[in-house]
Amino acid sequence: MMGKTFEQGRPCMNEAPGISEQLVKRIQKHIDRMPSLSTTVTKVLEICNRPDTSPNDLNRVISLDPVLTGQVLKLINSAYYSLPNQVSSLARAIIMLGLNTVKNLALSTAILGTVGREDSFQSLAMDDFWTHSLCVGVTAKMLAAQLRVPRDQQEEYFVAGLLHDLGKIPLNNCFTQEYRQAQELAILEEKPLCRAEMTLMGIDHAMVGKMIGEKWQLSENLVALLTYHHDPEAAPEETQRLVRIAALANAYANLNKIGSAGDRHPDKSQADAVAVSLDIGWGEVAEMEVAVQQEIDKAQVFLRVAKEAR
């Protein structure tokens, strides 16, 4: 391992030559076994991003997934009301708590319930990973608000932040040993983790993220985010605002070491360039620190329910 070095200047991206077919197959197999996000969650996402969501639509789309329904009700009963079995159906929840509360609970629960499994985590510490992801989610959403992204689109920024590192889950699961080495190499050479992944495995989490996004039929925005969050300039034009904002949020989380997803030395000069392209200063980002921490604390309850649900 010690003999390997980074190829200078090579960005993290998905068209690396010479990936072994066997490796891709193995990852693909793992992704196939991951519970699918395609039906309910994408629908929930779509419904939740509409400003005119009707109670009927929301009830219908969540009810398609009995597990999600159970988790949402559990969250409401435990966290919101601390009364077991008080709220026994979604229709009841919508009438008692209102549409928006149920909408937001469902959205976050849907995603964490799908990808938050403990057994998906080998060399990454799950709690650190999700704290990092939550931090990127809440920061991206706050940045979006500050940069005047319309309100009805801001939730997508939270989801984007929460999911941006999805590609690390299969990598770290299929190649636990190599993945640990990649993290060590990144620390040793003080380089971004995705470059170490590429050096050791010939594939990085952005490429794997793209595979998952396509398999799950996520929106174009989210696929672009999974693919290009370490190289926002390469993202398709119409997705660039989301990718840039999430990339900046990611750099913020990594530089401030809020949680950890193994990337201790992000590309600072690239993050600076992203900040410039968004016309926002680091000072403004730093000012959000207290609010970000508060939002992360609030969102922790989702992790608890996602974990308990297994």
Partner: protein, 303 residues
Amino acid sequence: MRVRFWGVRGSIPCPGPATVRYGGNTPSLEVRFPALDNRLIIIDAGSGIRELGNTMMATDFKQGPINTELFLTHTHWDHIMGFPFFVPIYLPTTNLTVYGPVSYEGEGLDRVVGGQLTYRYFPVRDAELAAKIKYVDLKEGERDLGGGIRLTTKYLNHPILCLGYRFEYQGKVLCTAYDTEPYRNLFCTDPTDPAYDEAMAHEGDLVAMEQNGLLERFFAGADLLVHDTQYTEVEYRASKLGWGHSSMEHAVAAATRAGVKRMALFHHDPLRTDDQLDELTSRYCTGSAPEIFFAREGMEIEL
């Protein structure tokens, strides 16, 4: 039990020539238990609590240190804004317990209420308060307050967690149901609408009816019910659906069904003038079961 209204207004204090008779302060109720050494329970810390505090300084404080309990129905601003002006919190001898509902999304009660005392809003900081203040988060349930006082709490229908309080003491019942709006079916109920779903529409009706029924059961038989009646039914239907407040018509009908003995219409809209309230009195306060009146600042009721 003796109940006194120190603030009866909703939303924001509205002093002025048009609100002199009913009062312009936001909610604060004093509940005394003369047989329990004049024990004091306060419900809500709207702007009305300022005058109550001043009165306590002139009376209770002369007898010794102030021990009191403050029950917040919820933490919307009109129900907590008087807290920094409640003089007993500045006395080192005061013992105050603050009870109230807090949702998991929010900060603790201490931050929500005490958070008003930061230099940004007020010249004294929370940490500088001399009194011994304890905060207790409440959920729906029952609680023994000692001295033979039983408390039952019930979630109401308001945009944030909000509790109704039912105090029972020696067979007498005081109940608060504010701020609250009747539960209603949010699902599509029009069979010709493509989104219509019979099962959903049916369940929605059922849940709304059941929740409204539970609330009526909560205040059933109360000797005094203090109920949110910010709007008339016409105002409510025209533009206030989902705002979290009740109409006079709804509240009066519910209290009548529930066998309430006396009812205070409460949380008056800030736009409502004294003359309008007089006019509404002749419209809504005619029955004797329950006996109904619009709450006025300074009014005292013996239970």
